[in-house]
Subunit: 412 residues, 2 copies
């Protein structure tokens, strides 16, 4: 898995380096439980007073760590985050619950906090019992060596089938004080709205109340993580969490109406957007990054559903893999979305070239106009469905032989 796959052709040339965030220290370990010769366990420690927020899978069969985090998010404060890769601890019944409890208790003892201040995330195979001993036995050493530097190691330790580590950062000003945001994420398949097999973590030194942090995170996710899809599959473990240490020294933001929030919201949204796009760029077998801009829908929600109908269509995705500007399949996908669209006003652009207008092929369109665009790695599709002012952009990748090869042999 993971390490054996070639790096995605859509990966950035190099990893975005992350500077320290005051109040956050990190360490990674190799438990050897599933992977050999690479870290698979990440510990993050937070200063006292750190606010926490989270958004989790809408799956009706969530993993044990997701249950745990949801339950303890209400307290609003966090002292530690522990992430393991290789075993999702999902659909493991009472064993799963017990594994979560014993990890949280053990880590609480090491850190000197209550188990409820420990947050957990697991990713990997579903349905296998998670052995806690290899994890628990690492905790003291991890806590001892935790420091502010190893962000690249942290991004690597949470990978599963990912072919590259994923980081992003941004900064903003709150009342004259600079605050910084670091983000790491993992995910490459089972990616769809509502937090697919994807774990993302944001860390900031901003001083912000937990409920405001939650509002900022939820809002950012709507147009970023929840606007991307690789294969329409949603995992049992999807998690995006944000931790704010308050060490930047800004005046604490205690209300969503605070003026200082605007720049911070923009910065958090930027980090979420970059992280979510990195996940799509590592989509299993992906060879093209596809942006789908839907306009003229009844409302923004309708535009988004049309966008996902296009983005999740196997026929659209395979056509793009074949570098075929098959706009007929885009029409099909608009039609099947079930949302209002006026066939006789429908227009489609590919790479900025108008290929269809008013319900038929555009009279000035010649297929060779879009050939250079289709051969590139970044594909732009724009659709106007001609009934209103709703708009949404969604992102996806193509569907290739690589996806089949990876997923027909995942466990074998």
């Amino acid at each position: 898995m993971g390490n054996e796959l070639p790096r995605s052709p859509l990966a950035p040339v190099q990893l975005e380096q992350l500077a320290p965030i005051a109040g956050v220290t990190l360490a990674v370990a190799e438990t050897g439980m599933k992977y050999k010769g690479r870290p698979d366990l990440l510990l993050c420690l937070f200063d006292e007073g750190t606010s926490v927020a989270g958004v989790f899978t809408r799956s009706k069969a969530p993993s044990a760590p997701v249950d745990w985090c949801r339950k303890h998010l209400n307290s609003g404060s966090a002292r530690a985050l522990l992430v393991n890769a290789g075993n999702a601890n999902a659909f493991t019944g009472r064993h799963g619950e017990r594994a979560v409890q014993s990890c949280a208790k053990a880590l609480g003892r090491v850190v000197g906090c209550s188990p409820e201040a420990v947050f957990l995330a697991s990713t990997g195979v579903i349905g296998e019992v998670l052995l806690t001993e290899p994890i628990v036995s690492c905790l003291e050493e991890l806590a001892d060596k935790a420091d502010q530097e190893p962000w690249a190691d942290a991004a690597t330790a949470i990978m599963t089938t990912d072919t590259f580590a994923k980081t992003a950062h941004a900064s903003a000003r709150i009342g004259g004080k600079k605050v910084r945001i670091n983000g790491i994420v993992k995910g490459s398949g089972m990616i769809a709205p509502d937090m697919a097999t994807m774990l993302g973590f944001l860390f900031t030194d901003a001083d912000i109340a937990p409920d405001v942090l939650q509002a900022v995170l939820s809002s950012a996710i709507e147009t970023t993580f929840n606007a991307t899809t690789v294969d329409s599959d949603t995992s049992t473990s999807d998690t995006v969490m944000a931790f704010a240490t308050g060490r930047a020294g800004n005046e604490r933001i205690a209300s969503v109406h605070d003026d200082g929030l605007r720049g911070f919201q923009r910065a958090v949204t930027k980090v979420c957007r970059e992280l979510s796009h990195l996940v799509v760029r590592d989509g299993e077998g992906a060879s093209k990054f596809i942006a789908i801009d839907v306009r003229g829908a009844e409302n923004d929600g309708a535009a988004r559903r049309i966008g996902f109908s296009i983005a999740n269509s196997p026929l659209v995705k395979t056509a793009i893999a074949g570098e075929d500007a098959n706009w007929g399949r885009v029409v099909m996908a608009v039609g099947k979305s079930g949302e209002a669209a006026d066939r006789d006003k429908l227009s489609i652009w590919i790479g900025g070239i108008k290929v269809a207008s008013r319900g038929a092929v555009d009279k000035n369109y010649a297929e060779n106009q879009v050939v250079p665009h289709m051969r590139g790695q970044e594909i732009d599709i724009r659709v106007d469905v001609g009934v209103g002012k709703g708009r949404a952009v969604v992102w996806t990748c193509d569907l290739t032989h690589g996806y089949i090869s990876i997923n027909a042999d995942y466990r074998s």
Copy 2:
């Protein structure tokens, strides 16, 4: 296309031969518009007094022939059906409407009926203008040579990417009189509920009022065509129509409460089930036929949506292609359906072997138990979601390299 692809490994050993239906004559032609050396145009002629019913795509961008058929179905009577393969006449704007009108008028003249008694269906590429001259010029010859025999030719003439011709038949008794039903269908990709790229036609000698025929057909489709999926894509052209000539001599069925209807309904459902399964067996690149039986859901609709969530999951479909009994992906797909399910009561059987019970792997399950089943061509998955009495069965096929190969090069 079509002819060049190897026959699906899931195809029946031989074509089900169809006997004549009194009141129906058929003829096929090669227009040469898209395919060479094979028929691509089908004409069916019906005796006066033939009842007609139809169910069409729910696409918001339906093809011109679908618009035409919907509009003229109200009359309830049909004299002719004309089907062409290779060009869907979809998303062709006013050209499309005009093409439909001129074909219907020309055929009306040849047959001696009003254009409104002529029904049309087209399948193939979307967005290319349909030239009517090659079709219209064949009509006289087709009408002259039409006879009761060439059912196999009819099933062949409507194929596009199909790798084998598809027929089914059944009979029933209505008040002591035997009535017969023949069916033909085409479709192999863009197959999902609500009538994907699929054209199906049923022909019977039963004497039955159009509104009753419509009720029988709509009911049959619910648990057959609308319970199958290949790739979740729904086409702009999906059509299932039924024609009843009334030549069997049974007492005319004029009400849905007629006792004589029960056997006829069963027979129509059987033909629809067989035809819909043949389409799945010809799913693009399919190597496994998969039945998914969902029980214990809140209601039948919820069971069906859970079934489709499993059936359309690329991760489930690729796991089955890889002969991997990856029930964790089934859990994931149940979870993402959004329907009520009790994770801690969820049970899963594969090939009759219980693999998961009460929210965890079954304690008696060993992976090698299901290996022989996974190696076979017929895969059975049963899921009990533990919340109610809703039940549904849906059918699909696996997702293989073959699907990618076929669809990444469709037009090139």
